[in-house]
Symmetry: C2
């Protein structure tokens, strides 16, 4: 799922929004030689699971377990064993037939594959509730991702240490990030400031962005963006609930007009306090016309 896909034009700067420059290739099959050439590629889906296996393995290591079978590891990770073996096969053959895998070896190999042998300094932009949570996340469950810079707009926060690191002003993103060699930027600002922050991070040389703001960021091709969108997650859950209710064919029209829409007035007015850059809000979503 999720979903990610940020297509974009690489115009150095944002926006343009449309610029629909789709180029259609015309007739004749175009052919994509690429297909097979993809030799040693690890499927994107497998990469995501490797990270999960790593965490499970760390837990096993803590329990002094030294070896584990694909069946056990798979159960703990919530996937089926064939898939797990296939995933592990992408990084090499480190198991022993008839026995299983050595926990320590597997941990080392997965870390190497994921590039965790290297340190990745993280910068968090937008120190609201979510930003605080990120900053305090501290080292992280698998060490390797120290948060080394925090940014916000609120003058009252400047210099204030959060999770041990003083907050800097957003205007200093470029220099501070360059100086501290930040490689990953986490955007936890409100929607409106996200693209601007993103542009600055890119300008500072950050090529990996974790975006919590509910907006599709426009970035150059060399920048990798992963989005974490709570509203989307909830809506997906909503879809499944709805579907479950009427498993019987014939959906259309789930029931008269059950609308309650109007209600909700209460919403939560108080909500937006002055947290300069609050957590990533999610908007969008309206209720029937």
């Amino acid at each position: 799922m999720t979903a990610h896909e940020q297509g974009v034009r690489s115009d150095s700067v944002r926006a343009t929004a449309d610029a629909s420059s789709e180029q259609q290739q015309s007739r004749e099959t175009v052919e994509v030689p690429a297909a097979r050439a993809r030799a040693r590629e690890i499927p994107e889906a497998a990469v995501a699971r490797l990270a999960v296996y790593l965490r499970v393995l760390s837990g096993l290591a803590d329990q002094e377990m030294t070896t584990v079978s694909s069946e056990e590891l798979a159960a703990a990770a919530g996937v089926n064993s064939a898939k797990l073996r296939k995933d592990l096969s992408y990084i090499g053959s480190y198991g022993t037939r008839g026995v299983g895998y050595e926990v320590a070896v597997l941990i080392g190999q997965i870390e190497r594959t994921l590039g965790l042998t290297r340190k990745h300094s993280v910068a968090v932009v937008g120190i609201g509730n979510l930003g605080h949570a990120l900053a305090n996340y501290g080292g992280f469950p698998g060490r390797g991702f120290p948060v080394s810079a925090l940014f916000d707009l609120d003058p009252d926060l400047m210099g204030v240490p959060v999770g041990g690191i003083p907050v800097d002003h957003i205007d200093d993103i470029v220099e501070v990030c360059a100086e501290r060699e930040v490689t990953i930027g986490a955007i936890a600002t409100p929607t409106k400031g996200a693209q601007d922050v993103c542009d600055r991070l890119v300008e500072a040389g950050v090529r990996c962005i974790l975006n919590f703001a509910p907006v599709v960021l426009q970035v150059p091709d060399e920048v990798e963006v992963r989005k974490v969108d709570l509203a989307v997650e909830m809506q997906i859950l909503s879809f499944h609930v709805a579907r479950r209710g009427s498993e019987t064919t014939e959906d259309v029209d789930s029931g008269g007009a059950e609308n309650d829409t109007g209600g909700d007035v209460a919403g939560s007015p108080a909500a937006s306090r002055h947290m300069s850059a609050g957590a990533a809000p999610v908007d969008g979503m309206v209720v029937r016309p």
Copy 2:
């Protein structure tokens, strides 16, 4: 990859019976046209994107835009137009050839499909930094997902209003959730308490869970779990950085993997790949209760 396979194994038995990879479809009516036959099935991947389209559409509506073409909407959502049209076709034909889609109509149809015409009360468990962020999300994404219950273990928090709602004790999850008709539970507790909290939510009748704790929850088949794991997201980013840096991996022999990661398929110029099967998963984060 949604979290479908979380938890419980259920196969383990099977094998011979139908395993006969043979074509069992023989003519005869009924049976196994499964894949195809399943009428109104909307691909999981498409559901995740519909939520994104919905948000973009809301933004267009706010700008008083009344119609939009697949090209425009696709660009704004970061996907290619063919995919967008295909996605929309799963929910019906609401466009006008030669013109485009009417924003208001599309919004209504997507909301209906995602089951947003119904209200989903959310319960947040674990009121640490993340829990606060979730509670303050305000009415949440716009409206539609009101947070109606908060839980924690800390005695000092009992009764304290966060985002307008008083915190209750975790021991009261079952009764409070049942009473307030909670349909979605968000677990923002530390790892160790997550499974227990999950069990209580399930006991309370909650069938949709959004899990922020870095642990694989075990749940009955009828419960849908989506995981948001920050560590996993960061590790995926790390993988891409590593890969980018040295196109030449030295691991187990590398062949000439050739090619940059970016390039990607011909066809559309912009648009990066990415998207594993699941939607955007995300990760964990622990906050203390």
